[in-house]
Structure formats: structure tokens, C-alpha cells
Amino acid sequence: MNTTSRIYLDNAATTPLDPEVLDAMLPYLKDHFGNPSSIYSYGREAKMGIEKARKQVAQLVGCTPNEIVFTSGGTESINTAIYTSVNYLNCNHIITTKIEHHATLHSVQYCEQKEHIKVSYLHLNELGQINYDELETLLKLPNTKTLVCLMHANNEIGNLLKIKKVSELVQAYNAYFLCDTVQTIGHYPIQFTDHLVDFAICAPHKFHGPKGVGFLLVNNRVNFPAFIQGGAQERNHRGGTENVYGIVGLAKALEKALNNYESYSAHVLELKTYCYQELKQNFEFLHFNGTLFENNLYTLLNFSVPDEHKAELLIYNLDMNQICISSGSACSSGSSIGSHVIAEIKPSYKGHHFRISFSHLNTKSEIDSLITTLKKFI
């Protein structure tokens, strides 16, 4: 199977593991195989690997080590945060949007139906932006303890939240703040100081780290029992034998991503800009979704092709030409339903939507190939 000639432009779905990260993981896949709860050397080595990773991660994101809870990934972390807020922090009101990731949306819907939590969905403009005044108004609702669930960056259209502004509002009204940072941790040097959030989320497979591991950052002021119970791991916050090599890989991937932030982000932004210009020049009928270059992720582009340009088979034709992009996000099984994000902000638009997402491994010539191929089919 020849995978090297393929052009992978779906890095918001997942990324290849960095070989350096694999090298860091290998000793824990081999010699240091012990159960971290065991007291003999194999166990202690494994435990040390975890605690070193925790310290390193905390340093990189500007929190204390005990604020990092390792989990199996983004989805589990989000579920944990929402469950905790509703069941232990007495939140009876959730403010969110309809373009959150399904991990948030479905958990929130569950709370709405089963736990009778009041849910307020913020209105969005046609760019997918929230109105911060509306957020403030909703935070003022009397007799409520509110959890604000807003993603830092949307995984389909890239819109960035004004996280500081939300943080200030949340603190002013004594609410809790869950910020889904899956698309930003590892892509921006965010510092979680000054009580920026109550909960943040990391999924390292989005920045050349391993799958099956992630962390939930929980602000020190939040005290909570385990969501997955059984065993005293993660200071009683998450039962289960730790995914040691995954945790070690997470820390390594985060370190590498942030140490190279300036060069990676400059290169990727250049790719995005170039790709945008080329698309715009060659296909003037395209509609770009989201805020594009203003307060937007530098890692992705989202555009729609109007119906009359027959884009149904575009994905397949690109595939025949070894080019991988996404129509909608990867995180909904059976994505034939289409994108819930675009459906929300452009309900009456008739056409097909595509997401191109970049990593530092992509090149300008790959963008050229993409454009050349696109020209053949639309």
C-alpha cells in the first residue's frame, strides 16, 4: 500500500504520530510495562513516566500538576466535565451553542432530557459567531447555577472564542466554564492562569500525539469525585490502569508542538493563506464559512460549493487522485447526515461543504496539486 504519495489534508480529524513522539513512547511499550500502582521497579518506572508527563504538561499549559487529570481522550473529558458540573457543582443551567462538538451537544442534550437541566443555546450570526451581550444576559438569570460550554475553536469552521472575555463574564457571574480546547491546545501557547477556565480539554491525536489518551484540566477550586470509578488512580479522579505510553506520548507531543509553535504556525498559516487565495482565484463561486482569517484557526479552511456545480462526487474524485479532505467532521459516525455546524448557520444553503485542514507536514506543492485536481472536477 502506497501511503506516501497521498496528500493528507484532514488534520483536524486526526494527525499522524510524530516519530519522535513514538520514540519517547517505545520504552513504555516495552521495558517499562509495569502497572503504575505496583510498588516494585516496573511499577515505579511507569508511575514516574506519568508524573513526569503531568509536571511537563502543567508547565506547558500554565497550571499546576494536580489540575491535570489524564483520561482516554477528548470525548471522555468533556463528558466528565459536564457530568461533574451537573451532579456535583449543582449547575442547573447550561449555556452553549448548537455548533459545539457532538461530545458536548449530546451530553448537554442528555442533561436536558434526563436531569431536567435548563439549556440556553446562544444565537449565532451567519458567520457562526456568538453575541457576548446575549451571553451576559443569560448569565444574569436569577436562581441559577450556570455552566458555560463554549468551544475555544470550532472544529469545522475554525471560529475562535474570545476566551478571556468569556472567562471574565463567567467569573463576574460566578458561573462555571467548560472550554472545549481540543482544536487549540497544542496549536496555541494557551496559559491557563488566573482561573481562565474551570475545565479545558486536550486530545493529543490532533497534534501528532497518540490516540486513546487525553486530559481534562480541572481548576483547583473544583473538587469532584471520579466519573469512571474503581481504583485510586489520578488522585481518585479517574479509575483504571493508566495508559502509560499514551500519557508519555501526550506530553512529548505537546512539548514538541509548543516548542515549535512559531515556525509551525507561521508555515501552516502561510499554507492556509495560499490555499485560500488559490481557491478564490480559481473558483470565484465558492463560499467560505466561518470568520476565515479574523479570529479563526490558522489550521483549517471551510468552503461550500453551490449545488449547480455538482460537487457530490468531488470527494471521491479527490480520493482517486490521492487527496484526502473532509466533508463535515470525522467525529460523527455516518457523516452522510452532513455537517450540523453548517446546517445551523446556513440552514437554507444548497450545496456541499468541505473542510481542508493543515499541519506543518503539508507543503505548498501539495496545495498546488489540490488546486489542479479541483480544477478538473469543478
Binding site: Y40, S41, T75, E76, H102, H106, G240
Partner: protein, 414 residues
């Protein structure tokens, strides 16, 4: 590569005899995983390109390997992050899904913390839980189980094999009873799957949790089995999101982990018979060798037991000293790994009726695929030596040797 790698990291010191806590990864598993990290790295839910399709294909292949090992249909396998999550999902998922029918769960006192802590949680949210006692063999009493079932009972949660003493519960009898009474049967198969022939059809299991790192696979990946026929069983998801895994468990799939789990299952199925013959012979040698020491006792049934496990108490020996005597040379645990860092006596051994002193002086031996005869020989000698030396220094041992029955002495408090 296979053999030389084994030499490199399987035979290092200390000798690893704690395969119930976790197992080293089989090099054949590791080899299978590697390409899925850096080359076939796709998201299995990506429907638009071959990276996604390849990942999905690898996942479905692994699902078949896992299903084959336990006689299930691949559609009945739901991947999780491990057995703890699996135990949580099965118990909480059934409790929610069958709330209409009842709120009562029956389990036993020697279950793993993942089951016990989840049951405590169930009690807090309005459920009722019966904790069956075990006899000194570590087995539950079927009459007591029968008597505990009420019209409100929705689930019997009894582990297949215990992690500390290796005792195998009467699974077929339990499932028959459960079926007769229309109650679902969940078993924590973590220690049994891959080691003994677990078959969900023959064993009548409705739900089961298990994990890869106890069977020479990677950490961070496990599965639950959820029966789809006679009866069709459903669990309410505990982790919501993109609707992965038939809606029962969302989140981007850990593709390398799943591929490794699949391979580990295939190897277990392929090697089980040969492994069992070899490992149980070593276990028996170890046990015989250690029982030559006076006042040493096997904990739990030796008749209904995993072939690679034995748990022995050495009376009149201080547990801590025991571990210290050889922990540079042999990696062993004196309780379950999750509590081995604490000095609490094992609740499993106490449930068998052992006093604190005997519980403290116990060692759990978990042999594995990479254990050798030389290691067993070394272990017998090292432990015999340590126990003998410690007893020479022990006043209790001296009294015992002089014929004083220590259990009859009343100690004055001072």
C-alpha cells in the same frame, strides 16, 4: 526479531511474577501496532478518504479477533479504554436502561474495586445492592444467590475469576440461574479472558468487561461484550458524543490500541492450550516448592482456579519484611496492584476469613507467557530463604515452635 526482543526485555531483572497486575506486551503485538501510529494513522470515523477506511478496516478486523476469542459476534463487541470503564459502563448502563424493571443488583464482596465502587455509586443514586459473601475457598454460594434475587433484580454482577486468588466462580450455574429468573448476568472477565476458554454462549454471559493489558496487549484499551440475541441486551451510553461504537461509547477510536488488542486476542486463542500446559506446570512446581515451608497455606480454591495464579500465606512472617527480602530480584504483589502501595490488608483475603496477620503475610504469584523454569527455581529458593530467615528472627515463630498456640494468647494492652 521476536526471540531476541524477548531476551532483551522479558528476561530482565527483577523477575516479573505479577501478571495479574499487568502483562508485558507480546513483541508480536507491538510489531503489529507500530504502522498504525505513523503510517495508517487515520481516524476510523473519517468517511471521506482511504486513511479513514483503512483505520476502520483495521478496527473491524480487530473486533473480529476479539469476538472470536470469546465466541461472540463482532457486533457484540464495544471498545472502551479498559476494564474499569467497561465495568462502569455495564453496571451503570444496565441500571439506567432497565430502570423500569427494577433497581436491584447482586454482586459479591471479592469483586474488583471497579465493580464495588460502581455499585456503591449505584446505591447513592437510588439503587439497591446485595453483596454476597464468599466461603473460605473464595466461591459464592448459589443458594444464597438464588435467595437474593427479587422481582426488582435487574443484574447479577459476579466476576469470572478473581484478580488476587485466581478463583473461578461457577459461571455456568450462575448464568443458568439468572436466565431462569429473567435477570441479566454481567461478569468481569478481566483476569480470565485469554487465559481460560471463556465462551459467552456456553457460559451464558449477557455482558462482560475485559482489557488488553492483562493479556499481553497494550494499556488503554479494552472492550465490553453486549449480547444481541436471546436476549438482546442494551446499555445506556455513559460517554456521549459522535455515536461511535453503536452509540454505546463515543470518542475517536484508539486505532493502534484496538489493533494491538485484536492481535493479543488472536495470539491468546492460538497459544492458549500450549501456554496453559506450560504455565500451569510451572505454577504447580512453584506451589509445591513453597508449600514445603511449614505453616504456609494456599488461599482460595485450588480446584476452581486460573492456571497461572497462586496466592500463598506464610504464617508468622511479617508481610512488609517479606516483600523487602527479595523485591530487588522478584516483582510480586501482596494484594491487588491497586492497593499494593497501601498497608491495608487485602479485602479479598479477609473475605475468605483470613485474619489481618495471615492476609499481611500473603503473596500473589501471577505467572505469564514469558515466565521461565529458571525464574521459578530462583523464586522458590529466594522466597524459601527469606521466609526462613524472617522466621528465625521472629519471636512468634519461636513460640510456635515451642508449642504455644499464639491464637489463644490474650495480649495485654499497654
Amino acid at each position: 526479531m521476536y526471540l531476541c526482543e524477548i531476551n532483551l526485555y522479558m528476561l530482565q531483572k527483577p523477575i516479573y511474577l505479577d501478571n495479574n497486575a499487568t502483562t508485558p506486551m507480546d513483541p508480536r503485538v507491538l510489531e503489529t501496532i507500530i504502522p498504525y501510529f505513523t503510517q495508517q494513522f487515520g481516524n476510523a470515523a473519517s468517511r471521506n478518504h482511504p486513511f479513514g477506511w483503512e483505520a476502520e478496516k483495521a478496527v473491524e478486523n480487530a473486533r473480529e479477533q476479539v469476538a472470536n476469542l470469546i465466541g461472540a459476534d463482532p457486533k457484540e463487541i464495544i471498545f472502551t479504554s479498559g476494564a474499569t470503564e467497561g465495568d462502569n459502563l455495564c453496571i451503570k448502563g444496565v441500571f439506567e436502561m432497565y430502570a423500569q424493571k427494577g433497581n436491584h443488583i447482586i454482586t459479591c464482596t471479592t469483586e474488583h474495586k471497579a465493580v464495588l465502587d460502581t455499585c456503591r455509586h449505584i446505591e447513592k443514586i437510588g439503587g439497591a445492592v446485595t453483596y454476597l459473601e464468599v466461603n473460605k475457598e473464595g466461591l459464592i454460594n448459589l443458594e444464597e444467590l438464588k435467595a437474593a434475587i427479587t422481582p426488582k433484580t435487574i443484574l447479577i454482577a459476579i466476576m469470572y475469576a478473581n484478580n488476587e486468588i485466581g478463583v473461578i466462580q461457577p459461571i455456568k450455574e450462575i448464568s443458568t440461574l439468572a436466565k431462569e429468573r429473567g435477570v441479566l448476568f454481567f461478569t468481569d472477565g478481566t483476569q480470565a479472558v485469554g487465559k481460560v476458554p471463556v465462551n459467552v454462549i456456553n457460559d451464558g454471559i449477557d455482558l462482560m468487561a475485559f482489557t488488553a493489558h492483562k493479556m499481553y496487549g497494550p494499556k488503554g484499551i479494552g472492550a465490553i461484550y453486549v449480547r444481541r440475541k436471546n436476549p438482546r441486551v442494551k446499555v445506556t451510553a455513559q460517554i456521549d458524543g459522535g455515536g461511535h461504537e453503536r452509540g454505546m461509547r463515543s470518542g475517536t477510536l484508539n486505532v493502534p490500541g484496538i489493533v494491538g488488542f485484536g492481535k493479543a486476542c488472536e495470539l491468546c486463542q492460538q497459544d492458549m492450550q500450549a501456554d496453559t500446559i506450560r504455565i500451569s506446570a510451572m505454577r504447580d512446581t512453584l506451589e509445591k516448592g513453597l508449600l514445603k515451608l511449614e505453616e504456609s497455606y494456599v488461599n482460595g480454591s485450588t480446584q476452581h482456579r486460573l492456571p497461572h495464579v497462586c496466592n500463598i500465606s506464610f504464617k508468622y512472617v511479617e508481610g512488609e519484611g517479606l516483600m523487602m527480602g527479595f523485591n530487588k530480584d522478584i516483582a510480586l504483589s501482596s494484594g491487588s496492584a491497586c492497593t499494593s502501595a497501601s498497608l491495608e490488608p487485602s479485602y479479598v483475603l479477609k473475605a475468605l476469613g483470613l485474619g489481618d496477620d495471615l492476609a499481611h503475610s500473603s503473596l500473589r504469584f501471577g505467572l505469564g507467557r514469558f515466565t521461565t523454569n529458571e525464574q521459578i527455581e530462583f523464586t522458590i529458593n529466594a522466597i524459601t530463604e527469606t521466609v526462613t530467615k524472617l522466621r528465625e528472627m521472629s519471636p512468634l515463630w519461636e513460640m510456635f515452635k515451642e508449642g504455644i498456640n499464639i491464637d489463644d494468647i490474650e495480649w495485654a494492652h499497654h
